[in-house]
Amino acid sequence: MKLNRIFGAVAATMLMAAPALALDISGAGATFPYPVYAKWAEAYKKETGVGLNYQSIGSGGGIKQIQAKTVTFGATDAPLKGDQLEKAGLVQFPMVMGGIVPVVNVEGVGPGDLTLDGPTLAKIFMGEIKSWDDPAIKKLNPEAKLPSSAIAIVHRSDGSGTTFNFTNYLSKVSPDWKEKVGSATAVQWPTGLGGKGNEGVANYVAQTKGAIGYVEYAYAKQNKLAHAKMINKDGKAVEPVIKSFQAAAANADWSAEPGFGIILTDEPGADSWPITAATFILIHKQPKDPAAATEALKFFAWAYKGGAEMAEALDYIPMPEKVVSEVQSVWAKEIKGADGQALYSATN
């Protein structure tokens, strides 16, 4: 009797709580954009009262969860291909970007003192260039005084979007890398140490003399590591700064792949940073819970419009306006409720 009453009460509270909870948007996926999503969520909650519950469980987990429809949106660093999107009935769009920066710890080499190009970087990570005074490096840096110390490679030990974009770049610029190693969230590294997370790589590089690694721009900046300049597709040496990441995004042909699924590495343009990366959102074309999906789209629209400054403060790069308007026209066209009505229109 007593138990029954308790169960009844619990059930009743749950029923009453359900509509209130539905206001919160739920998402899961990539760890790389988590800091900026969390920041946006906090500001958005203050402004609208709608909360965002984002679990940064990794891109693989995010894809699985959106396919299982346990979350309103999924997030992934490696974009899905057109046929995968088609099969799962998903819409994909880029949310925010970041830059990946080679960082080094070489005696006498400060931030930006060293210049590398793609093929040389690939050879270093293949273990073919073994010391810092190798002719290939010297040729790119005739001015610099480079020691004869051995190069220690540092890579990510955990699967990550950073590795995906970095190895994608190396595959584009080095046929040898493409054939022997390839590109994925985790690869079989020919040589080197694995650090866990950006912070692990940053720390190994800082500690190991002669080390080279790759980290998100924010980590290179915050840990005061010496970054290398890269020679881009147009043959120009560029510094990793927000302007050069944005140039890469602006010069990219976003309609080349379905779901904006292009990878921003090795983009043309004199100012383009060659290892730029976008991170993507996945949402169902016909969501199970249209109300929640509408809330999610409102949040994304708000973030595109008002979140740029917050993103830049955290060293992320906001999407160019042109891309945003293309994304929003896709929303209006493709994401529909059960009645066939579009859930998003530019006016709401």
């Binding site: 469980i57 693989g60 030990s157 699967g159 590294w189 694995g194 720390n203 190994y204 500690q207």
Partner: protein, 331 residues
């Protein structure tokens, strides 16, 4: 008169009927208690078989794709989806071995000192310190290992090892390579520190169970301290000692976070213990979140199954050792 059922206060009924009813209630309670304890015991078996079943089902795809090659290949390539567990198995076994080689003698030494030789004033502080060591979360060991211990080793122990053994035939391979600071040896040393309190506190507890009479008798017939410890204390407590060592080994085999931080996470087998490597649990922790594709996930679960089997084998060996010891003593 001593019949428990008649001492109860409810004697309004006739004595016989009251007694029968009390007895019935006792039997009921007994039964309930027996079933409860049995259910708890069965639950353990149920959970264990559930874990095994889940691991086997999860790893089936990998095991059926690669077969026995999964155990014998070193390659771990997520791009071509060719997975082999040899490098993580090697790393797990070698780091645990290094840990036990250091922790067992040191742990036994501490325990013997504490129970047999230590002045009573020091006994409590040292005992508490060891228990505190056991209470430190493994992530703390990992961070400390990465930021403090690894740079220290890189500057001191590793160059010393490389230059000392550089010209010795086999040892020059074992201690070869640039001193990265991190690597298999560092992971083994961190594990040794983590395992030490387990070995120490279990052995101290079992040493304290040795009856004073036995030791006094031995001293009485003129045994030295060493002889008492070697011939009386250790033989008397060996079952407990093996238990303590196995508990430590179990922790060393399965330890994840601390190892992930300092082992260097490279899926390679190198002759040198200064080189980076990986362990089963470190690989799973590193790669599970972003493992895309069923074969990749399944291979990681298969690693988990292998760790389970290794632990099982270790326990089986421990039991066998104990059985043999007992038989030897009987003969």
């Amino acid at each position: 008169m001593t019949d428990a059922s008649l001492q109860a206060p409810t004697l309004l009924l006739k004595p016989d009927a009251a007694r029968a009813s009390r007895l019935r209630s006792f039997r009921l309670k007994d039964n309930v208690f027996r079933h409860l304890t049995r259910a708890s015991a069965v639950a353990v078996l149920g959970i264990l078989s559930g874990v095994i079943l889940a691991l086997v089902i999860g790893s089936w795809l990998a095991l059926s794709t690669f077969g026995i090659d999964f155990l014998t290949t070193e390659s771990w390539n997520p791009v071509t989806e060719k997975f082999g567990a040899l490098a993580p198995i090697y790393g797990t076994v070698v780091t645990s071995l290094i840990a036990m080689l250091i922790a067992v003698p040191v742990g036994l030494g501490i325990a013997i000192f504490l129970t047999e030789l230590c002045p009573p004033v020091l006994r409590r502080p040292i005992g508490v310190a060891i228990e505190l060591l056991a209470g430190i979360p493994s992530i703390i060991y990992g961070i400390w290992g990465l930021f403090v211990f690894a740079p220290f080793l890189q500057a001191t122990l590793q160059p010393a090892l490389i230059s000392t053994f550089g010209s010795v035939p086999i040892l020059s391979t074992v201690f070869a390579g640039p001193p990265y600071g991190i690597g298999i040896l560092t992971a083994g040393l961190i594990l040794a520190i983590m395992v030490l309190p387990f070995v120490t506190s279990v052995s101290r507890d079992v040493f304290e169970t040795v009856p004073a009479v036995l030791k006094e008798a031995a001293y009485g017939v003129g045994c030295t301290r060493w002889e008492v410890i070697r011939r009386i204390v250790i033989p008397y407590t060996r079952v407990g000692l093996v238990g303590g060592v196995m508990l430590g080994l179990g922790r060393a085999l399965g330890e994840t976070m601390a190892v992930t931080f300092v082992i260097g996470n490279a899926h390679r087998i190198s002759g040198s213990i200064l080189a980076p490597g990986t362990t089963i649990s470190a690989s799973i922790a590193n790669e599970f979140t972003e493992a895309v594709g069923e074969l990749y996930t399944s291979s990681l679960i298969a690693l988990g199954l292998i760790l389970f089997i290794i632990t099982f084998i270790v326990l089986a060996i421990a039991r066998l050792m104990l059985l043999r010891l007992e038989r030897q003593q009987g003969a």
